[in-house]
Symmetry: C2
Subunit: 583 residues, 2 copies
């Protein structure tokens, strides 16, 4: 294997073109095998192998600095920068993260996982280089899908006026996760259609020099292009037309499905049968389809990650113009949804907990200050064993402290659907719903709550001495705690389902004072700034003791949930121990 000789980028420099091509094949094989075993980003990595080889052949990392956007396309880079064992040895498949990570290698400049950051980050490096007399190349590697994000566009506008070296490599594989959306992509298409020569060029309009590489998976052409821009004294865009999933036919043909795959996807003989059982995603899409058919003012909106919400190609097709994927443009999504609601439409915006972070100002100013009746579905809001870049534990502190917002935490199918329908039909409040994450629960009991009466908590079981407020995902933990407490101490605790995250039920809380000594709160997310602290504040001047359970303020990186639950005292045993200390 050629790869045996490659332990760092410098080992590429003496390889022949033939050897580099062979190396690409070897890397491709490793990635296919590894990703099919562990799951992960397939298409983006297969499309970028040749680019990565050519970059490391021409430039001199880590002196020259390559900044990856999103970095879910960094597997070839990891293989070439001393981490190939994570791909050659199945026992080490989980050793390295799926994103760039400075703690792993000096060839990784930043820890990233959100899109659209590379150009700004690279511009900052270039500015600091110029300030301190450095001369190295600064390269941002960004996919076409990421270009539509506000941070990327701000970055491009700023990068273009650097009076020094700045190389933006645009990896244009014709796709975001799903189809691209926006005027920019028409321009990219014109550029590709005209071999980079069409009159109106988005990048040139910003002031970039521009080079087009039609064969973006051809190492020779890539080396040629990168050599042309190496040590440039001004900002230049190198626009590569690459093939997402390159070299794996099924991935080339099914670009969206093979953007990120589950383990074993390639081993399946046929299309897996659609999952028949209900889950929170399926009941959401069923609700939207059903509702939209009857009401033409319903519109489902997704900022670029439709798969996470069950917004499949089929779903999108069925909704037609009642579906809008705005591309990676979370800020625009929230502002546009607010305007749609003001006009009288009924927008339902789905977004991941980690990506809603992009929209704080839009939630505050465009949405809540204007009190627009938008429904926002926050998915994957929960403590997670995932990468530090994609944690779902911050949405409660982020959203619940914004005035006018109503943030709801359902605990079952019935509650969720009732809240969703209430939200869609009402005209008084911006509403976010934390879509339950984890086990699907159906009580079989219709929820008749009128959610327009805000901040009414629900007493599920009346008891005494201890009251347990189990928010959303953790309501079921609250039930377990109640049972455990009964078993261990005989105490029959009061079980409360708060349902509202953005306000407290003062009447109910006040009524607890008579017959309760301890109130505990459980929330599936960071405690700091979240729900429980508001309960602590409320009881601050009373004799009631309050314990807030939830995540600690920290970025965790692929820590198993069991370990997090131990660390944060989120098991029924540990919680009951803590309660006992207060009694």
């Amino acid at each position: 294997m050629i790869l045996d000789k490659v332990n760092s980028p410098s080992d590429l420099k003496n390889l022949s073109l033939n050897e580099l091509n062979t190396l690409a094949d070897e890397i491709r094989e490793l990635i296919i095998k590894k990703v099919n075993t562990t799951g992960g980003h397939m298409g983006p990595n297969l499309g970028i192998i040749e680019t990565t080889i050519a970059l490391h052949y021409v430039f001199n990392s880590p002196v020259d600095k390559i900044v990856f956007d999103v970095s879910h396309q960094c597997y070839p880079h990891k293989i070439l920068t001393g981490r190939k064992e994570g791909f050659t040895n199945p026992e080490l498949y989980h050793k390295y993260t799926g994103y760039t990570a400075p703690e792993e290698s000096m060839h990784d400049i930043f820890k990233v996982g959100h899109t659209s950051t590379s150009v700004s980050l690279a511009t900052g490096l270039a500015k600091a280089r110029d300030l301190t007399g450095g001369k190295e190349n600064i390269i941002a590697l960004i996919g076409d899908g990421s270009l539509s994000g506000g941070e990327a566009l701000e970055g491009l506008d700023n990068a273009a006026v650097l009076d020094s070296n700045m190389i933006v490599v645009v990896n244009d594989n014709d796709m975001s996760i799903a189809e691209n959306y926006g005027g920019l992509y028409k321009n990219l298409q014109e550029l590709k259609d005209s071999d980079g020569k069409c009159e109106c060029n988005f990048f040139k309009s910003l002031g970039f020099d521009y080079i087009y590489v039609a064969e973006g998976n051809n190492i020779e052409k890539l080396i040629e292009a990168f050599k042309r821009v190496k040590d440039t004294n001004h900002p230049v865009v190198v626009h590569l037309h690459t093939l997402k999933g390159h070299g794996l036919a099924v991935a080339e043909e099914n670009k969206e499905a093979f953007h990120w795959i589950l383990p074993g996807t390639l081993d399946k003989k046929e299309e897996p049968a659609p999952v028949q059982s209900e889950n929170y995603v399926s009941i959401t899409t069923d609700y939207i389809l059903n509702k939209a058919e009857k009401d033409p003012s319903i519109i489902a909106i997704s900022p670029a990650t439709p798969g996470a919400y069950g917004f499949t190609p089929e779903f999108r097709k069925k909704l037609g113009k009642q579906y809008l994927d705005v591309g990676i443009a979370e800020e625009h999504a929230v502002a546009a949804a607010s305007a749609m609601a003001k006009y009288g439409a009924k927008p339902i915006l789905a977004i991941l907990s980690s990506f809603v972070q992009r929209t704080y100002d839009q939630l505050s100013q465009d949405l809540c200050l204007n009190n627009s009746p938008v429904t926002i579905l926050v998915h994957w809001g929960a403590l997670s064993n995932g990468d530090a870049t994609h944690l779902g534990s911050f949405d409660i502190p982020l959203i619940c402290n914004i005035p006018n917002m109503v943030y709801l935490a359902p605990t079952s199918k019935e509650e969720y659907l009732k809240m969703l329908d209430w939200s869609v039909e009402q005209k008084d409040f911006p509403v976010a719903i934390r879509v339950p994450f984890g086990n699907f629960v159906s009580t079989g009991i219709e929820d008749n709550t009128d959610y327009s009466i805000l901040n009414k908590f629900k007493v599920e079981e009346q008891g005494s001495e201890v009251a347990i407020l189990g928010l959303g995902n953790f309501f079921h933990l609250a039930k377990d705690v109640k049972d455990e407490l009964k078993a261990k101490t005989g105490i029959n605790a009061t079980l409360i389902n708060p349902r509202f995250i953005t306000g407290i039920d003062e009447e109910l809380l006040n009524s607890l004072k008579d017959s309760h000594k301890v109130v505990i709160t459980l929330e599936d997310g960071q405690v700091d700034g979240g729900f429980g602290e508001k309960i602590s504040r409320y009881f601050g001047k009373s004799d009631i003791k309050v314990l807030n359970f939830g995540g600690k303020k920290e970025f965790t990186d692929r820590v198993p949930l069991e370990e997090l639950y131990q660390r944060y005292h989120l098991t029924k045993e540990l919680i009951v121990d803590d309660i006992k200390k207060c009694l």
Copy 2:
């Protein structure tokens, strides 16, 4: 007066061009007089009078919908839409807000005050219109300065692919608040230099149809242009070259100084002498200038509002390449600063509390996840009597719940400068400093604290029974409360200056348990999600009573501070009353 006959936009339709021109002069005179009396946005409004008249002459508001960006240029619009009394009658000068406000008029679609939102909002209106069969014109009116913001760029990318009516009027007056910065502006200049005909056109590259109006203050030309695009069936940009401050010579000549003026500015015979007394802005700029001279790796960064931080033209000139105004691009500013720090430079980023909201995800992902040693100076963080769009009460909940961040609240010149210098020189943490707002305090006593020992609160005066934690701006209120409590009850309270917002001093808090019954927290901002709740959480399982004082979770709109302080119990008398109830 022509204006006497104009009570709504429909009254314009029968006026002759001559009358419209006279009307413009009348409006100009009113605005100059009113703004010079009350203070406010002068240049933007003087530049947009003709555009506003032409828009309302050609289009049919409120059926056709005009969405203002930032909306600090809406005075002529207010005058034409039934609110002229707020400009003709000095007694009513304060009746209307300086921004669009739907509660004032059906001609105002949104409440806005942050930049770069109009295109997304208009796109949402257009989408809802298309969904529900409407046919009216949707117009976004956006200044050139606002175009560089991520939300605006995301909006343009999305607006361009609407298959229906969408009119983006770009009011290009060659200026943001200060000079524009970014590649986009070079393109706007080329467009202006070529009478809109240059080959590379940013807007066309996104897919917009494009019309250029060189005489952007000529009503006849404007009417002609707007008539051309009225009822268009596709997205079009109308690029106007206007003159900021049009018709007021001193404003035309001093565009930055006359963007927003203090009352009476025009009456001053000569340039006011520079303020000699120290304040938190002056000691900041003195520090930066002094430091930057000795250390070439220092760089001061401002996202477009340099005046608020004392980054005057003179300051900028002195710093040379050690100053960077990235334009309205807060997201980029934070990400680029993070990268500069990673490279080894020492970035100091100044931003307003209200605008830091734009950067939550960049603070979290680009900055804190990467633990980059950037110094962020948060100005105007305080409860405020200002517009709902520019409140400074949300930065503590926003910033203090992000992992890894160190958020500091100095209470005097000496503390502030020590914290600032520590932050700039250290390499371990992303640091934000809430620049004190309000009275300037100098203790005359050097601060020798080592701030690298995080979360050490300072006991300023040891007492018993009651402990008062006075954060930042409210430390001085805490002192007053201590005195009042002594006078009213004889209690000698413990006075604590927390200094750290992002963590609690458990050792100190624990030590309070022995001899204190009540702990109170005072913070100059929203309580929900803020500092005090963390203290309540800490003491939740103890016998200590805790009271959190600060702002309520609400958007307040031009409410006098005295009224807010009464409402939130933020006077020494009300606080002592509340404490007494707990004793």
